[in-house]
Symmetry: C2
Subunit: 596 residues, 2 copies
């Protein structure tokens, strides 16, 4: 297995050459004061060192060991505590956090690269900072000044970690039916009682305190999703002077045995009159949660890219080193018993598919991060609103498409190894098992697709889709005379048009048929993703082409050739998806339960 | 998790209603003397009882326990020894075996159903009878009368198990470069020395003896694949009276830690001058191996179907029981807190995709088994030759397409469970991990695709493809006036034509470009598989339609509606695959190693 190396070269290409992130940062005053290109480079370089040097080496052993549960206490795998301390000392937990409370205020475009490295190096570990950052976001956006002052600084530093407590045994996708109760006390606090499951890093030994954000229902709350409130529930009570007090009334009842991310603790949390404080308004807990959802969901999409990158690194190395059979055109290394398997077209098909998804996915996640930065930091209302629309539209695509392609990529990366890919010591199978969860949590990919198709595309009557379509069309128009881009602009335009036609078609169907959205959703999101990645690869060509001549590193010429592969081999998948969507919902809904 | 139930109803549909297997059996004299419809039903029923009642209950715990290695001895998971004894007592190991040596002489069309049940119930266990049957096949086809008499009866009974020793650390796909040596002794035996890896059930405690078939090179053997011979190497020497003698000079050095099929032992075998006997001719060991390959490869495809069926059973049950959110058209069970998730179009899309692949796959594996039966048992030379061509063509498709769709199906089945699908206790994630190996062993699916595209389609200049095309075309023609089939015949014909065009295109390209075969192979096999399954679903419609009226069980109407779903939603994938293949090999071969 190749040692994970942070893909700094490609991240620099995406940030600087494809998206001119420094110009973006300079245009956003609250970002400009925190970061300049030199700072950004230094951060990326240091992040590369820590993720490759500290987190990656712990990854495989942590998978073997898992976490240990004993009477409510959870012990993390060997080395995690020390690694977490490294993250705390570097301030990495608060990289994108609000400077008012000790965060570093870095743009998401930059933070996204750090996230990808961390998740690619060690996903089980990476979940702890990820969940903490998510909890900070919700708290920063909705908590009272008092709560923020009391909790955020130690969470941004990572001395305390965060956890999100949403799911219950009978309520996953459907949070409207949760049963956890919050009863008000006279002092303004609440007593929280109920059972939460699937709580990532809900209990562990890496941080001094764990701050849970818990969804619960007030006694007189309306039924359904509009009767849910959000509460901050610390593991240890925090005294007014900031010191830790007694332990709160909740504990970890058990941890799950899982397919992957075994180095992380997935906890059952039992709240037994635990003391908590309201975050945001009563009965608006789901809104508060959704604040952080866009960030978290992009973060999960980035996990897919990270795992896929790690798999690609190993597969590429193996394909160059493993010798087996001869090239179809005759021996390439006759002095050896066989040729490296890289000579075979099908091995190249596998590697180029991986590369297409990894590098295209990295660009796409950065593209979405760009809109997040603008939506959060722009001083221009119109620009901000436009960016918010893009974020709303693109986030479910990033979450689902990047994790679907992430799993596909890790499976291909395992296949490149043949039988050795199935054996644990080579590491490729762990990436498959780890990556699999990304399609499930933070809203399954089916739910993402419903969000895209229903709440975003159909509910806006296509207006949100238009934002994206206009962006792609503008690119096509601006570059119509670019020689290098010429072979790609026509298929990109055709792909966009096909997507636009399909969008219109589903909007029309949905007006008459409530099942039309669900029937189209997953295939539509996939189609959207393939088109979005085509746009990313066209942008990569634009950035790489002027530097390709005389490029001996292979970096820029490799970009051009991979773009060609993507357009010829992968983009055509959108054609079939469109055809399937056109058939509508009848074939699915016509069956009674006993016919399935 | 649903308890696995052998899908006897659908197997009966496939055998009796789709393929009229009794008529086939009656037409083959050597089969007719062993089986009639009543016997077949009794066998299937008993197989259902054993697989559901004995093998399935051991499956999950075996995955948790794994096998134990201690100083060369391998202990199988709890209950495996007793279960193996049940298989021995029922004579299941020799179900398809040569009656001359104690086999039951049953047709593959029937044996395939037993195999699917066994693999669906417990794949890790099922590998032991599967490998034994494979070893018997090779021995029966190529061994001397003496070897057959000495070994086959105890192998068919299962008192002794079989193992196949091909792979070495440096030689997997490329067996031409193996290093294991066979040195002749004066008594006609050979001393075998070398290391083999990935040897399934190479060592264990379930059978009294283990008979290894080992590929090795004679001292003066030609280089490459034409210098490989096959040897029978027993764990315990067998005396002339059939009693066991001393232990042979080889042992299990370790067992692998794997992603799945953890209940099975995957052994490193160290041969240190072990005594062996030549099977078949010197230097023709690969030929002898390929004899059993068609059987084994179909068997692996069937593993994909079995795992997918198990996943579907659980997913179907869960989708009916799990309540979450409301149907898009309004509450279906207003008395409950939410509706069963089966009401959602996307959940139906998932279940119908699974059902399409499982039932279509079962039909396709039985279709290939039919050609195997004819090729092996027909007394008519022409008919036999025709069937041999079909087997050669269709076997790689069955192996790769059914396992690719098998993994896809188990992944979907896991997704239906949401977060619970990732947790081990629900069993869905094990099916994913177990099924994953089927895409890798017995020749990776990439190798299957090369076999189909290169050795079968291009090497025969399309003649083998024509056999299949004619079969489909004849079906279309025969049924042109069938009302129920009408909606399917045109898309089936279009799909066949597209496949034929693509076939011709690649054959032309391959004449000028040695890389054309490898560049097209995997997508071509996929396209072939989608077309073949369309043919199967059309056949299912033909069989089900006359019985659909007044059908209250939902079985026949479910077949018709699933066929519609398959044609509308899944078959269109072939369109994109064809487009990708047309782009040829340039996009893959244009890159230098440093550009990938």
């Amino acid at each position: 297995m190749a040692d994970y190396q942070a893909p700094l070269r490609d991240m620099s290409f995406v940030l600087n050459e494809m998206f001119d992130a420094p110009a973006l940062w300079a245009s956003l005053p609250r970002i400009a004061e925190n970061v300049d290109p030199e700072t950004a480079d230094a951060i990326l370089e240091e992040a590369g060192k820590i993720t490759s040097g500290v987190l990656a080496p712990l990854n495989r052993e942590a998978d073997e060991q898992g976490c240990k549960w004993d009477e409510g206490e959870v012990t993390s795998p060997e080395g995690f505590k020390e690694a977490y301390q490294t993250i705390v000392e570097g301030g990495w937990n608060g990289l994108g956090g609000n400077p008012e409370f000790g965060g570093m205020g870095m743009p998401k475009t930059l933070v996204a690269q750090f996230e990808e490295m961390m998740q690619g190096a060690n996903m089980a570990f990476g979940l702890a900072p990820m969940l903490t950052a998510g909890a900070c976001l919700a708290l920063n956006a909705h908590g009272s000044q008092e709560l923020k002052e009391k909790y955020l600084p130690n969470m941004y530093s990572g001395v305390w970690s965060g956890a999100m407590d949403l799911t219950e045994p009978h309520a996953g996708t459907d949070l409207g039916i949760i049963r956890t109760k919050a009863e008000p006390n006279d002092d303004g606090s609440f007593n929280i009682t109920g059972t939460k499951i699937f709580i990532t890093w809900g209990e562990h030994d890496m941080a001094e305190n764990i701050i849970h954000l818990v969804l619960a229902k007030l006694p007189d709350a309306p039924k359904g999703p509009k009767g849910i409130s959000l509460f901050l529930v610390p593991k240890f009570m925090v005294n007014d002077d900031g010191s830790l007090g007694e332990r709160n009334q909740f504990s970890c009842g058990s941890i799950e045995k899982k397919m992957g991310i075994k180095g992380s603790a997935t906890c059952v949390m039992n709240f037994d009159g635990a003391k908590g404080w309201l975050v945001g308004e009563e009965n608006k807990g789901l809104n508060a949660m959704f604040t952080m959802m866009n960030y978290e969901r992009l973060g999960v999409g980035i996990q897919g890219v990270g795992a896929a990158e790690a798999s690609l690194q190993s597969a590429r190395e193996y394909a160059n080193e493993r010798i087996q059979s001869r090239a179809p055109t005759g021996a390439q290394q006759p002095e050896k018993a066989a040729d490296p398997i890289l000579v075979h077209p099908d091995v190249r098909r596998m590697l180029l598919t991986m590369k297409s998804y990894v590098e295209g996915g990295r660009a796409f996640s950065t593209y979405v991060a760009k809109w997040l930065d603008i939506s959060k930091y722009s001083d221009n209302d119109e620009q901000r609103k436009h960016a918010e629309g893009m974020v709303a539209l693109l986030t479910p695509v990033a979450k689902a498409f990047l994790t679907d392609r992430g799993l596909e990529t890790t499976i291909i990366g395992q296949q490149v190894f043949g039988g050795h890919g199935f054996i644990r010591e080579w590491g490729q199978e762990q990436l498959v098992r780890d990556c699999r969860i990304t399609q499930i949590y933070e809203g399954t990919n089916g739910i993402q697709a419903m969000d895209l198709m229903g709440r975003k595309v159909v509910a806006s009557q296509g207006k949100l889709f238009e934002l994206f379509a206009e962006d792609v069309s503008a690119f096509i128009e601006e570059n119509s005379s670019d020689e290098a881009l010429r072979p790609y602009l026509e298929p990109l335009a055709a792909s966009l048009e096909r997507l636009a036609d399909t969008t219109e078609h589903v909007i029309k169907q949905a007006a008459e048929n409530p099942n039309a959205i669900g029937a189209a959703a997953v295939d539509y999101l996939d189609m959207f993703g393939y088109t979005a990645l085509a746009y990313m690869w066209a942008k990569a060509v634009k950035a790489a082409a002027p530097k390709a001549e005389g490029d001996t590193s292979g970096f820029y010429t490799g970009k051009l050739k991979t773009a060609r592969f993507y357009f010829e081999r992968l983009l055509p998948k959108a054609v079939s998806l469109a055809e399937g969507i056109r058939s509508g919902s009848d074939a699915m809904m016509a069956l009674d339960a006993n016919e399935i």
